[in-house]
Amino acid sequence: MRITEGLNQTQFLTAINALESGINQTQNQMSTNLQFTTASQNPTAAGSVNNYTQALAQSQQYVTNATSAQTNLSTEDNALSQVQTQLQALRTLALQANSGTLSNSNLSAIATQAVQIQNSLLSLANTQNGNGEFMFGGFAAQTQPFTISATGAAYNGDQGQRQVQIAAGQTVADGDNGDTVFNQIKTGNGTFTVAAAAGNSGSGIVGATTLSNPAAYDGGTYAITFGAAGAYQVTKGATVVATGSYTDGGTIAFNGVQVTLSGQPASGDSFSLAPSANQSVFTTVQNLVSALQTGVSGGASSTALNNSINSAINNIDQALSQTSNVRATVGGRLNSITTQQSVATASQTQLQQSISTLQGLDFAKAITTLDQQNTTLSAALQAFTLTQGLSLFKFM
């Protein structure tokens, strides 16, 4: 084939252009530390890198979310632990008041301390987090959830519970509403509650109540009415359910429930057994304070005080148990956040590795490539100069 000088030069220029653009690309790779900087250099990898980058950003966001939830939950746990301390102190006060030897002035002093505890509980229930949000208001985070009232405290929040996303498809509550923590506390033993009628004249005091056979208790309301000499009958509405004879310290059992009484109810005294209802811890405290402030005047009143304090202790125990339960779930959530954080860290490492595998530059390879390209280019330049020197005209 005839090769003309013009063709030779054109082909040389094309080749040099290709080599120089190759070198330019390698240089670009090395200066950005990236295998490719435009999608056309590796379209599939570019699409995958976008997916991975997005997943990485999301994972990092999940960690941010988890940290925010962690802060809120720690604040909540701290508040709840103080609530427990206050309730324990209140329980101690109630036991102290229940000793039966205290005067009205002693009781009044205890009542004052109980009121202080009530105020502390109120301020704990109105705890705000770092963003000024009320922690126990549910969704109504900017309304003070608890305000003092005659019967305890009114709840101005709602039953909402905020969830925070800590992983794909996994959310964790970053708090609990005040209704759950402070209001929805079952009275009595959690299933039913026994109360002395207001007009009782005997010395019958309600002691331990137990649900001995959950299947047998129908959730109904019963009345235990005493006749003469400890005879009693249990009625549900107009129906007599059980009858028996009571001696001091004895247990009255029917329909799967057991009620232990102490003292001697007078004839006509009655006790009602009703399914547990929800009662606010503030109502419990308020009832205790009221009973302590009423104090004692005569035997019947002492019995009433004992019954009130016993009932309060039951309810305080329920509140303590509720607080422990909530703290347990908070602990569980904090655990799952910690777990999720380490999972997220691992998955971020994985994602970064995937991105780096796809887009990261293999420096050793890039340097070798650049070296090869340089060698080829200088060889090409040399070859061109050599061949350009060959001309018949030089020999004429």
């Binding site: 005839r2 997005q54 009320f134 709602d158």
Partner: protein, 630 residues
């Protein structure tokens, strides 16, 4: 005796010419379009002296152009293909470089935007995180606007290059037709010997033309060259030219098409190669589809975010307002429509059915036909084109303002301008609806253990969405009533749908237990709606719910990258083919200086030999004269 002089002189003259031809070859070694020439030498008619026939010397009978029409045609075809790919590559590379691996920062902006929703979910009462979200929304909008702005400026560039190409094509065509006339005249004057330099010029012009637009040529017996473009539309016929013109696209005045002045028909579709073909292809296959895809994602972002907003309450307790607005789909009547009927188009079946294609709605014999411009498939849309019964097909619904005439055409572009038109319309941070619209509660007096879910909004358009509702369980609790309505059998965990929302009550309620669902006004600490919004980037919304917004961006990146890569590969391959074709042409027509040097030596020696023959003739003559003088 005189013969030796005649023969020698004829040789001297011939070799002198041969040296001239060779010198001319050397002189034009670098002249574009020059074809190597050789001198045609023939023996002069012999003279007979009765006993022997002796040659009468040599005659130069014209020059021969080393030209292969086949090789030239091959090169021209190859140049047209290469020209097309070069133009395409110019635009795919620009997009590739502008977009990099993040669609010009769009994918990063979207990630930040959805992360900002998460931050709002973490701190729904914080004005700072709400303000940050609006900032991120603005950067999403400007990323879409920038990306589509780049595309639109590429389209403007395409237009100006089309105009330039057409001007150049016309001037080359004019020059070819002029050369045709000169060649015909010149050949006649030269006794049938064509003027080589004019042929060279014409071939060079044809070669230049082939880079601009794909052509085919025929040669008339008189030497005239006829040039055709596209699908056989004449550009040059002997001494006549048919000029090309640019005309506005019948649907979009901002896009230029190629027309043929003879028939005033648009011939753009027939121009598939050369720079002009590449420009048209870049617009139709690269720029406009990318705009449509961007628009599809922009529409998805806008619609999903706005729909989620509508499901929640802002800090003032109002249902959320739109964060984004996006341009509505376009329907443009052809400039050739004979009536004033206009079309309006809406997306019909949600995002899943929305495509990134354009459609042409045309009418023939009263029957509508909707043709997908990217794959040419067509369907007959359902409906009558009226507001009551719009034409529906391909996820769009079209309403016409009147009865279209036969032959009317409308271009329907569901997403073409959406990216450019994406705007943030919410500026007040408190109007971000982070909270769920409703809240649920169990009454304090409930004695059962049943719980109620927080509730989700199914239809934010329900006028009673925020009205308070009480669900009361009957005694026994095997059924419940809603706001005192008829009894509904209770199933634990079953959906209770009222007023456009849905809740579930699970567990064992007691008779008389009540649950309330009401407006979540005041629930400023709620983040349910922001949480849902933050997750939307991964929800499949496009292509019948199979592709998420993130997936759509990745597909766009891969799609544009593949296109650029494919065109780069094709361009490299075509450049190799072109180099081969060029080598083939050059090997026939090009000047090799060594060869010319050898020729020079050869002719020099021949000339010297002929001169010696003349000297010998002279000495013979002198000898003869000397003998006579004695």
């Amino acid at each position: 005796m005189s013969d030796v002089f005649g023969i020698s002189v004829s040789a001297l003259q011939a070799f002198q010419q041969a040296i001239n031809v060779t010198s001319n070859n050397i002189a034009n070694a670098s002249t574009p379009g020059f074809d190597r020439e050789t001198l045609n030498l023939t023996e002069a008619a012999p003279q007979s002296n009765g006993t022997a026939t002796i040659g009468a010397g040599v005659v130069a009978s014209g020059t021969n152009r080393a030209f292969s029409q086949a090789a030239a045609n091959q090169l021209n075809t190859s140049q047209s293909s290469l020209g097309q790919l070069n133009a395409l590559q110019l635009y795919t590379n620009q997009i590739d470089n502008l977009f990099g691996t993040t669609v010009g920062g769009l994918s990063t902006a979207l990630q930040n935007f959805y992360s900002a929703f998460s931050d709002v979910a973490n701190n729904p009462t914080s004005t700072a995180s709400r303000q940050a979200l609006i900032g991120q929304a603005q950067s999403v909008a400007s990323s879409f606007q920038n990306a589509s702005g780049e595309m639109n400026s590429l389209n403007t560039d395409v237009n100006s290059r089309i105009t330039n190409d057409v001007t150049q094509i016309n001037s080359i065509a004019k020059a070819i037709s002029t050369l045709n006339n000169q060649i015909v005249t010149g050949t006649a004057q030269n006794g049938g010997q064509p003027p080589n330099e004019l042929l060279d010029q014409r071939d060079q012009l044809v070669s230049n033309l082939s880079q601009l637009v794909g052509i085919s040529t025929t040669t008339d017996p008189n030497g005239s060259l006829n040039v055709f473009v596209g699908n056989g539309q004449p550009l040059v016929l002997q001494g006549q030219t048919t000029t090309l013109t640019t005309v506005a696209n019948q649907f979009n005045a901002t896009q230029l098409e190629i027309s043929n002045s003879a028939s005033s028909a648009v011939i753009s579709n027939n121009i598939t190669s050369g720079d002009l073909g590449g420009l048209l292809a870049a617009r139709a296959q690269v720029i406009n589809p990318a705009l449509n895809q961007l628009g599809q994602i922009a529409t998805a972002v806008s619609q999903t975010v706005n729909a989620q907003q509508a499901n929640g309450l802002d800090l003032s307790g109002n249902l959320g307002a739109n964060i984004f607005s996006v341009s509505a789909p376009l329907a443009t009547g052809s400039s050739r429509n004979t009536d004033a009927v206009t079309a309006s188009v809406t997306t019909a079946n949600g995002l899943g059915a929305l495509t990134a294609n354009d459609y042409v709605l045309s009418f023939a014999g009263g029957t509508p036909k909707l043709t997908n411009t990217s794959d040419g498939t067509s369907v007959t849309p359902a409906g009558a084109g009226t507001a009551a019964s719009p034409y529906t097909a391909a996820g769009i619904s079209i309403v016409l303002s009147g009865t279209p005439a036969n032959g009317d055409q409308f271009l329907v572009q569901p997403t073409a301008t959406a990216a450019a038109g994406l705007k943030v319309v919410l500026s007040n941070p408190s109007k971000i609806a982070a909270a769920g619209a409703i809240k649920s509660a169990a009454a304090a007096a409930n004695t059962g253990s049943a719980t109620i879910s927080a509730g989700t909004v199914l239809n934010s358009g329900n006028p009673n969405l925020l009205a308070p509702v009480t669900i009361t369980f009957a005694n026994p609790p095997s059924s419940y009533s809603v706001n005192g309505g008829p009894a509904v059998a209770y199933a634990s965990g079953g959906n209770i749908n009222v007023n456009g929302w849905q809740v579930q009550v699970s567990g064992a309620p007691a008779g008389g237990d009540t649950f309330t669902v009401s407006s979540n006004a005041g629930g400023t600490g709620d983040n349910r709606n922001a949480l849902a919004a933050a997750n939307q980037q991964n929800v499949g919304v496009l292509q019948n719910g199979t592709t998420s917004i993130t997936g759509g961006i990745s597909a766009l990146i891969t799609g544009l990258g593949s296109q650029a890569q494919q065109i780069n590969t094709a361009q490299t391959a075509q450049a190799a083919v072109n180099a081969q074709a060029l080598a083939s042409v050059q090997s026939t027509s090009g000047v090799n200086l060594d060869e010319e040097a050898a020729s020079l030596l050869q002719w020099q020696q021949s000339y010297q030999a002929a001169a010696h023959a003349l000297v010998i003739g002279n000495s013979l003559f002198t000898t003869l004269i000397g003998a006579l003088n004695q």
